[in-house]
Structures are given as C-alpha cells and as structure tokens.
C-alpha cells in the first residue's frame, strides 16, 4: 500500500540456513539487524521500507499545498503538526531501512531518479479544502488499516517503527474526519465540496492496498516471510466495511452504484478500482507524478549547499575543539 508493488526478491541462499531462518519466522521470533537473513528478504525489505519512507515524504506535498490557505488558524496549526508528523514518520522508516545496510541518501537518490516508487495516492491533486479532510479520513485511514498488522511484521526495526507511527496516525485520521464532519454539516456549498472530495479520493484510496490478490503474484513470499501479514484484498475489504458507515454518518454518498451489503460474508460488496489507471499512475503517468518528483528534486538540489555548509561547519568546529585540547 504505502509501499506498492514491492516484488519479493528471489533468494539463492544455503538451504540449511534458509530452513533455520524460516523456523525462526514461523516461531514469531523477530529478525534483528545483525541476524543472518536471506538476501531476498533483505532486498524486499529495503524496497518496502524505503518506499514506505518515500511515501511519507512525498505525502507532505499534497497536504502542504493547503497550509497557507487553511480556512482557520486552528485548522492551519493542526495541519502543520500533521505534516511535521509525516516528516518524522519518514525519518523513523529511513532509519529502519538503514539497519539493512543501505544509506538514506542512496534511497533518496533512487526516489529522485525514479528507481524507487512511492504510494500511488500522492499523485492525486488536492483541489479544495475538503480534500485535506478526505486525505486524513480516507488515506490515513487506509494507512492505519495496513500499518496496524505491520506492527507484527517479522523484521524488528520495521515493526517498532510501525508501533510509533500508528500512535500518531490515528490522530491524523481523526482530524481528517473532523474536517469532513464540519464540511458535511455546513452550508450547501461546503457539503458539496466534501462530496466532491469523497468522489475523487474514494477509488485512489482503495488502490492504496495494491492490486487484487489474483494479480499480486509477489505476495506469497512476503507472506511466507511474514513481511506482509494480510493480503491486499483482505485489507481493502476491511477498509470498505469500516468506511461505508462513516460516510453514511456524514450524509455523503460513496461513489459506487454497486455498493451492497452482503449478509453472507458480513461485509460490503463493492466495485474494484480501475486497475489500468492504477498501473498507469505507478508507471509515472498519474495527474501529479511529474510535479511531485520535480518538487522533491528541486528541494534536494537547491538544498545541497546548505547540507554541505552544515557539514563543513561541523568539521571546522571539531577541528577547533581538537586544537584547543
């Protein structure tokens, strides 16, 4: 989801070591940075955690788009705090990825030149203030749905990062829903904005869980290694079941004519997202892909002299301190 389409890497390790590793996984013993692990496991995790981190960073852009235009000072401060949290989440996740032997700058460069992905959802624009509510409610709601089970993922540093992040993520979802409530109960124009936001963000949110299980050929190994705990469709269904009543409470309509309660499965039947659009967005052809990567590249390039300057200053201070001793 935040790390979509992560392929489980093939592994060619000593079968004996591999079996011992699998035994450990099956016994729910967490894998720690200095433990032996299959090369495929390491690579898959670097991709997944790295892309998860990238998503947090790129995810600041659609919301940051509304900071200067937030309608009240209170909403503005809440949004600022939320975007700061996202930066922190990116930081925890990069730190977790680094325990696997890759550096944050290496990961950043792979994001910037398009070798690594980030979640498809952040390639959609935020066109009105209600979008900020919908992003908190739906996008962070989908994130929680995915991250709560990831707290039990087999790699220790990743699972601990998820525990920290989940605590803050529920704050994000609540603030989003709070915006939606205000808008949905406001004037007719505000209600229309809320409905419009839901119409545009519903399917992109469902896409966050990744392709349907039938098309997700790489899930099996990730589930075997307990990197992934639930299948894409399982989580998507859970998300729909949780979200539909929340939309009803707002008096808004979910943009899906086929939405029907299925008594037998105890859940909602819904229309799958347009997978052609999904794969297209992942390939870089979504509404904002170019803009998002340009913004990140510009920040990185324009900030180079600041990063170098701080390092040069730190070295100068260290040299002066050594000389004084």
């Amino acid at each position: 989801m935040y790390a979509q389409m992560v392929k489980s890497e093939a592994t060619q390790d000593d079968p004996e070591k591999l079996a011992a590793f699998q035994q450990k996984i099956d016994a729910n013993i967490k894998v720690e940075p200095r433990d032996w692990m299959p090369e495929g496991y390491r690579k898959t995790l670097i991709r997944q955690i790295g892309q998860h981190a990238h998503s947090e960073i790129v995810g600041q852009l659609p919301e940051g788009n509304w900071i200067t235009r937030a309608p009240t000072l209170e909403r503005k401060m809440i949004l600022l705090a939320k975007v700061q949290d996202e930066a922190g989440h990116g930081l925890y996740l990069y730190a977790a990825a680094e325990t696997l032997g890759v550096s944050r700058d290496e990961l950043t460069e792979m994001l910037l030149d398009g070798r690594m992905k980030y979640s498809s959802i952040f390639n959609y624009p935020t066109l009105n203030w209600a979008d900020i509510g919908a992003v908190g409610w739906l996008v962070d709601g989908a994130a929680i749905m995915n991250q709560v089970p990831l707290q039990r993922t087999s790699y220790g540093p990743y699972s601990r990062a998820m525990i920290r992040i989940c605590k803050e993520e529920s704050f994000h979802q609540r603030q989003g829903y709070d915006i939606m409530m205000k808008m949905a109960q406001g004037t007719e124009a505000q209600k229309q904005m809320a409905q419009d936001a839901l119409n545009r963000l519903w399917y992109p949110s469902l896409m966050m869980f990744g392709p349907s299980d039938a098309a997700s050929v790489h899930s099996e190994q990730s589930m075997g290694w307990k990197i992934k705990i639930n299948s894409n469709d399982e989580l998507r269904q859970k998300f729909v079941d949780q979200t539909v009543p929340q939309a009803k409470y707002l008096g808004l309509t979910v943009p899906d004519d086929n939405l029907t309660w299925n008594e037998d499965k105890g859940g909602w039947d819904y229309t799958d997202p347009d997978w052609t659009e999904f794969f297209d967005v992942l390939k870089g052809n979504g509404p904002c892909n170019t803009e998002r990567l340009e913004a990140r590249n510009k920040a990185w390039d324009d900030g180079a002299w600041v990063r170098d300057g701080l390092l040069a200053h730190a070295e100068k201070k260290r040299a002066a301190k050594t000389a004084a001793e």
């Binding site: 720690e32 200095r34 550096s103 260290r318």
Partner: protein, 94 residues
C-alpha cells in the same frame, strides 16, 4: 554527490523514567543539531526530559551468534539468586 551526514543514535529519559531508553536514530551534521532534531522528532508529545545522542559508529554491539556463550552460563548459576537459600517459615518474611 556530497558527503552524507553521520548517523546518531538517540536515547531519551522519560518524565518519570529512571534511565535513558534507545528510541531511534537520525542523521545530523553534529551533536548539537542531532539534539535539536531529536527534540523535534522524538519528544513532540512530552516523551521525555533528557536526551543523549551518540554517533552510531561509536557503538559496539554483541553479535547474535554469541548469544549462547554470552548468556547461557548464568542460567546454571542458581547460587547468584536469593531463592537459593532456605529460610525457615518461622522466621517470617525476609
């Protein structure tokens, strides 16, 4: 590419905590910035009152494969535990 900032490990003592606990890591050019960033990232919601930062390459860790030789011997040394002594019931709580 320019040089990377070094990695720092962050330890925080909670408001009622007795000792510093490892909470995570971050990149910063020097210790001062590492403390500032740790304050922003790891104590945003009253998590602590004291921060230690240590450059990661100053830390040496035990190896997972040494687990046996390092920790197992202590299990057989029951004489290190107070439960080893038989105190008569008449004595009461000791």
């Amino acid at each position: 590419m320019s040089k990377e900032w070094p990695l720092w490990e962050i330890f925080i003592r909670g408001q009622h905590g007795l000792s510093h606990r490892h909470v995570g890591s971050l990149h910063a050019p020097d210790a001062e910035m590492a403390i500032k960033n740790a304050r922003d990232v790891y104590t945003r919601r009253n998590e602590g009152v004291s921060i230690w930062v240590v450059e990661a390459n100053n830390i040496s860790a035990s190896s997972p494969s040494d687990k046996g030789p390092l920790y197992e011997p202590s299990e057989s040394k029951i004489y290190r535990h107070p439960t080893f002594f038989d105190i008569p019931d008449e004595i009461g709580h000791m």
